[in-house]
Symmetry: C2
DNA sequence: AAGTGGTCTAGACCACACA
DNA sequence: GTGTGGTCTAGACCACTTG
């Protein structure tokens, strides 16, 4: 019974990986178009001389990846590819910059502890409470690279009360100290107003990219941040979702 | 043997889903910090009165999601969360707009079949060959929403030679006709020049968002496109990677 | 009614890393 | 060596859906 496995076990790849890869290749190359019915589990069992669990595992992975869809009594079908799903990384700025051999600095421009105002309550989705409002400028090779404008929900992150944020930037501090479970991002392009242009040392009206992030520790929001970058210095790269 | 399953089978959720969810909750809430060793498969088997395969499946899913790491002989450990990975969707414009009950239109501004020039060769990473250059404007509710500037590698997509692209926009046509295996995106903010401003009916210098996409059918590039949106009308939403 | 996929079991052998 | 995870088997029952 293990004989078949041993025979097929070339190059250290597991059998379910091989089955998955071979089906994936058929889909990706277009040989199996969207809507094509792929072989039944029973047929794949015979083809690969393996048990149904092994086939099932391979197909289950393909379902998670969105490549196939499975319908009881009908079979498994190639899905119309979800062209549009892409994954990107928003780097933790300081370590990213240092890793590239560039210099990183930041200035804390504002640190205000206050009772939440209307805008704060909206951003953090709270009825009341205290927030910490931080603004700082990030520099890469001594040039302004990002303006950070952040709210921290002090009910959820009381440790932030006593953090100075004068040596460690807020994003790094939060990453290290605050557990989180979910985040939502919005990316927008807009023209800099005079004050932002002054801070970022760009001309007024220069196109900027804003990345807003709401972070949850379910079910509540811990922090809201706007990271605003000069358009000419910043871009986001994203790959098709692997 | 099936008795235990029947007893635990509440609310139609499978057991491996329940195991995965409960471990996930412990990680997400911070009760199990990064580095924490989660129970051995053997312990989880006892706790849930199930077989090792069921536990293994739950843990395997968590590995794929990047929440835990498994080391032989040592156990399974909570990973440091990858803060920065986020996933977004770039909708197929027409169907997206129509689904929202808005009107969609587009104008084909340019359709040129030519020998690849230097820029074309660079964008498509080819040494020579013919390309199709398309430009069109997409309208949502009769207002310009995007300017599309696209190159198609005719060696790889010969069917595009005979497609008119006067009724179906290039992105929809390609989506339906051309298999692809990989894509890379770049998102940039920039100020509109006079000509672009005229096309998009925005003021010159208005911030725009450009999404560039290179699409592969491995190992070659099938198409390169710039989608340029008026900043005030467009944003990208992204969720933490599920 | 029949055949598909969804899920699970109770074993098993193996590689690997650590003691 | 020892115990972990990685993988696989040869069954099983069930729900669902479709012919």
């Amino acid at each position: 019974m293990k004989a078949e496995q041993a025979i097929d076990d070339r190059s250290g790849i597991s059998l379910h990986d091989r089955i998955r890869d071979e089906i994936e290749a058929n889909v990706m190359s277009g040989r199996w178009s969207p809507g094509h019915r792929i072989p039944y589990e029973h047929e794949l069992m015979k083809h690969y001389s393996c048990s149904r669990m092994t086939v099932n595992r391979a197909l289950g992975t393909l379902v998670e990846r969105g490549l196939i869809e499975r319908r009881k009594r009908a079979g498994s079908f190639v899905m119309t590819p979800k062209f549009h799903q892409a994954v990107f990384e928003l780097p933790e700025l300081r370590s990213q910059v240092v890793a590239q051999g560039k210099t990183y600095d930041f200035d804390l421009l504002r640190r205000e502890l206050r009772r939440a105002n209307a805008a704060d309550r909206s951003h953090l989705n709270i009825a009341d409470g205290e927030v910490l409002h931080l603004q700082c400028l990030h520099y890469v090779d001594a040039k302004p690279y990002a303006f950070e404008d952040r709210l921290i929900n002090l009910e959820l992150v009381p440790e932030a009360r006593t953090a100075a944020f004068d040596r460690e930037p807020p994003n790094s501090w939060l990453f290290a100290h605050v557990p989180w479970s979910d985040a939502r991002h919005q990316i927008t392009a807009f023209n800099a107003d005079a004050e932002l242009a002054r801070k970022l040392a760009i001309r007024p009206d220069c196109a900027c990219m804003m990345v807003e992030r709401w972070t949850w520790r379910l079910p509540e929001r811990t922090t809201y941040v706007q990271m605003i970058h000069p358009g000419p210095l910043f871009s986001i790269e994203a790959a098709f979702r692997p």
